[in-house]
Amino acid sequence: MSEKVLMKGNEAIAEAAIRSGCRFYFGYPITPQTELAAYMARRMPKIGGVFLQAESEIAAINMVYGVAGTGKRVMTSSSSPGVSLKQEGISYLAGADLPAVIVNVQRGGPGLGGIQPSQSDYFQATKGGGHGDYHLIVLTPDSVQEMADLTGLAFDLADRYRVPAMILADGTMGQMMEPVVLPPERDAAVADKPWAVTGTENKRPHNIINSLYLAPDVLEKTNDERYARYAEIQAKEARWESWMMDDAEYGIVAFGIAARVAKNAVTHLRQNGIKAGLIRPITVWPFPTSAVTGACARVRAMVSVELSMGQMIEDVRLAAEGRCPVTLCSRSGGMIPEPQQIIACVERLAKGGK
């Protein structure tokens, strides 16, 4: 077994990407994802890879689009304001069915916002973000270990479904140091990608990477085909952790740093005689709808714990299908809910409040 090393979350993503065969990284400086780019800048030149500090996030994502078109594994990372700038390119990646991995180490917004951790880009990440009908596969790590593990998974899922994937982390995850077992080194060789632009060598008709379809019926067909893939992803790739949910009367839904605080709260609540549990989405698109729907049939109420003004709660409510009340317990702007806030929220529900 490989040994544990102590690493920052941002660095764990970078090293895991390299070990997953990614040799191309493009980015533009922004807090709090700085260490990721710095790590790539140090490592890539030593292993024959490319690190390029682009002139903007717009340029960076379009460099990603170029590399992805050649079929090679490629990553970019940023934080909220920068990810907003990438949305045009992300929509083009989705429209051209190109696999790539985008990391968002979220900070508080809107606008320039702040530099403290946040989850307020949930809507942007899970509902499209850019223009047009599309989704990303969105993975939400809650530890440095998962920062590494989900990065490898993101590359694999992106390649398998030809859908760009996003690691939706936050400033805490990026900055925190934890022991991590890094994934083994994998071959950077391109999986079979007959659609890639690599030069025809005068041996095949030309390949075209494109998202333009002026005939509406043809464009609709491409959307239908892509949504068939999305349906398969929804059926097969939703991931979550259920913790203390078997006998839970109160269910908390939380991901990333919020889930870690929520686990602490669940432990305290159980000590106080309130049976609480946690559903932790590991993918937020696809959202673990079945897990939440199932739990809602058994619990008295669900609580969505978030670092936002309440975004994921909409998916929790949809999944609840009216079977149980759903309440929000959140902080925003870079503030992190304390266990005490969550405990108070569940205790209020237990006393019949809202």
Partner: protein
């Protein structure tokens, strides 16, 4: 019977959608001829812009990528970095290259990316129906400068070759035109050189082609060509603005 004129191999059989008298067709042919002459079709990857030439991906027989508006040099950077032994070119209009994509243009040039850019300057936004471009001339009437481009409020045209040749990054910067046979022949040579530079690993090469848009200039094709010589070329002088080869020769 001797064949005296044939289509370059690097063009597909697709019929161009360009307006009658539009120089885009000539410029496509010159690019394809350069690729043919250098024998690089099988290892060339082209990037189409957003603009009238958006469907260039159907016309060039090499592998093609359609980029977002103005982003072609960034896309080309990604492709060239991933496949350094491939020949990567972009084909862009003035709105694409000199307005929305200015940052990508300047920075790919400053980095000296070993790519070839064919920049078609027709002083107007053709595809969207004739709006003012960053290269529209002072006084030029367009849909969005209906009283003529007023430099006091709408600024001055941008001369891309002059701007880029102030940078250390580019290897070769030249401006050509396709308004008469002599200029077309010169353009053919210059475009081929811009591709050969890349084959030889010399670095960033950009050829600005002073073009025309008879449709949105509201002129017949022959009047449009006259306007190129009378108005465009005096503002956008033809020639080589930077050639690092010559600098080396002199040194």
């Amino acid at each position: 019977m001797a064949v005296v004129f044939s289509k370059p191999k690097s063009l597909t059989d697709r019929e161009f959608h360009y307006c009658p008298g539009c120089p885009h067709g000539i410029i496509h042919r010159l690019v394809a001829q350069a690729i043919d002459n250098l024998g690089i079709e099988g290892r060339t990857i082209g990037i189409a812009p957003v603009g009238c030439a958006v469907m260039a991906y159907d016309y060039f027989a090499c592998d093609m990528v359609e980029a977002a508006h103005g982003r072609a040099p960034a896309v080309a950077t990604g492709i060239k970095r991933a496949l350094p032994d491939r020949i990567v070119f972009t084909y862009q209009g003035d709105g694409d290259l000199a307005s929305i994509g200015m940052a990508e243009t300047v920075h790919s040039a400053a980095r000296g990316e070993n790519i070839t850019i064919i920049f078609v300057n027709n002083a107007i936004y053709g595809m969207t129906g004739g709006q003012m471009a960053p290269t529209s001339l002072p006084g030029q009437v367009t849909q969005t400068s209906p009283y003529g481009r007023d430099v006091a409020t709408q600024g001055y045209p941008i001369r891309i070759c002059e701007l880029l040749s102030s940078l250390d990054g580019p290897h070769f910067i030249a401006r050509v035109a396709v308004n008469n046979v002599k200029n077309v022949n010169q353009a053919a040579k210059t475009i081929e050189k811009a591709f050969r530079n890349q084959v030889e690993g010399k670095g960033f090469s950009l050829v600005e082609v002073v073009s025309a848009c008879p449709t949105n200039w509201g002129m017949t094709p022959s009047k449009a060509l006259a306007w190129v010589s009378e108005r465009m070329i005096p503002y956008y002088p033809l020639g080589v603005f930077k050639d690092a080869d010559e600098k080396e020769d002199r040194a």
